[in-house]
Amino acid sequence: MPDQVLFAMEAAINGLMAGVLYALVALGFVLIFKSSGIFNYAQGVFALFAALTLVGIMEGQVPFQHLINAIFGTELHGFGWETPAILAVVLTVGVMVVLAIAVERLILRHLVNQPDIILFMATIGLAYFMEGFGDLMWGADIKKLDVGLPQGGSFWIEENTAWLGGDGFYGFFIDRLDIVATIAAAILVIGLTAFSQFTKQGRALRAVADDHQAALSVGISLRFIWVLVWSIAGIVALVAGIMWGSKSGVQFSLSLIALKALPVLMLGGFTSIPGAIVGGLIIGMGEKLFEFLIGAPFLGGATENWFAYVLALLFLVFRPQGLFGDKIIERV
């Protein structure tokens, strides 16, 4: 095979892998949107907060150390122990559940039956609050996250694909972390789909998204459903946070990856769990291929920054509900 084709294939595969990471963030958005009609602007910050908390617990940092030190004049930094990764993950899940309960108590409970735009505004507020809160709790420096996931290129894949090309081709380079992320995403999607289609909580959750009043009248507790949904979204955010954090360090720009999830959602549809995955893959692969085939040779490069948004705009014009979103039904 000619090298050009092989490079294009490698770009496509790496694009797919990057797409999985986009999809992981998009998944959190879909979950909350599907089940409460809220576009949770804070989802990206949730991923950041989850990753920060995970690192903080693993390294045994004292939460709010700067605040405590400033007030009491102490010199606290760490507890002096390190928490094993598995335990730290479990504890972080606990923190995310507590966060979900707090969100329900302090925000959602007071906004029952309010228009969606009010709830959206509330999540914007929440996003900025959480960013500041995460900073206060764990500090603003860039942290390294290593939960023991395999990293670096997979030699096995490189060795076994080297024969495809000539002397200048050493096989496909695929980061093992990306492969782990793909597996994690697959498990999440299967699990979440089963949950929302087959369990009574899943049905209740879809009911709550549709109509609060009607949901109450069939005996669904809004509070329970909200805590449940936000907890699950927190856990999905944790998975996304672990993957992104392991890849590029836990830093505050992590919350900006949330923006990449927007075009993914427009493509896949805001209400479809498989849509989030397919949308993520299309955007990931599309931007890499476009850059490789058209962007770099003809447009001077750096098309990756805007390709996704242009694609999303096209979708908004021709298919506003996305590939898998609910059909827009309007009776006149």
Partner: protein, 280 residues
């Protein structure tokens, strides 16, 4: 209902059999001196009445009489400032609407509250949520107990769907249905919960004559076949008189009449309210 159980309920007269052969039991729900205010407006002013097991009880009155508010008090959406609600012979503590629903009280809404994005079948299945006890995990993984339970629930749901003649639209998203059918789907959802007490808020509002006749027939059959106690609000005097066993008449938040359709029709105060005698 046997005699002993009947005695336990407050004030309950003996059960009796109606002209068309249905048995009306003791008191199922007792509303005592309910007063509900919104700021300075008194929507319900010291109203008491009871609903007996197996009967069709209508609440009628002109616009703004407080009928819907009354229904919302019964179903827990409004909390009255004064008064008590007794259900199954026990005083009901203040409850959230979903807790009321779990007690076996289902309702429909005046302006239809369905899950528009979900299919008819899914909508009706939500009525069964409180009849599912297997764990989330076994449901997601479709394990033995969950499967048996799902079959059982589906059976009941299919029976309701059959009964209300909506088989042909079971897979249709509710948002796509015309108004009359939506009303029927809402009734189906309420019915699938196997409620002891079914509250219908203007089940015939906005319907044409034919649809009204259908709905009347369904209400009568529900009462007859499932033995469900029904409390309904209606505007249309004619419909109510044919349908109900007893009628409460409200006007400006007060109760102005209570009795059989015949009694009510001959009550001077009721006639005044409906013909519009001026209030001074």
């Amino acid at each position: 209902m046997d005699k002993e159980e009947g005695m336990a309920v407050k004030d309950s007269a003996e059960s009796y059999v109606t002209d068309d052969g249905r048995t009306i039991g003791g008191v199922l729900m007792d509303i005592r001196s309910i007063t509900l205010r919104f700021g300075g407006v008194t929507a319900i002013n010291d109203i008491s009445f009871d609903i007996r097991e197996g009967e069709i009880r209508a609440i009628i009155g002109p616009n703004g009489a407080g009928k819907s508010s009354m229904l919302n008090v019964i179903s827990g959406f409004y909390v009255p400032q004064e008064g008590e609600v007794w259900f199954r012979g026990a005083l009901r503590p203040p409850m959230k609407p979903y807790q009321v629903a779990r007690q076996g009280i289902a309702r429909t809404f005046q302006n239809i509250a369905l899950f528009e994005g979900m299919s008819v079948l899914d909508n009706v299945m939500t009525g069964r949520l409180n009849h599912m006890n297997s764990s989330m995990w076994s449901q997601a993984l479709w394990l033995g107990r969950a499967e048996a339970e799902e079959h059982e629930n589906r059976e009941r749901v299919e029976r309701v769907i059959d009964f209300l003649e909506i088989q042909h639209i079971r897979k249709t998203p509710v948002g796509r249905l015309p108004y009359g059918l939506k009303k029927r789907v809402e009734l189906a959802r309420a019915l699938s919960a196997e409620p002891e007490l079914l509250l219908l808020d203007e089940p015939m509002a906005g319907m044409n004559v034919e649809e009204k006749e259908d709905m009347s027939r369904f209400i009568l059959e529900v009462n007859d076949e499932f033995g469900t106690t029904i409390a309904l609000i209606e505007h249309d005097m004619g419909v109510v008189m044919d349908l109900s066993d007893r009628v409460v008449v409200m006007d400006y938040g007060r109760k102005i009449g209570d009795g059989t359709p015949h009694d009510v029709r001959n009550n001077q105060e009721v006639i005044d309210a409906y013909l519009g005698v001026s209030h001074d």
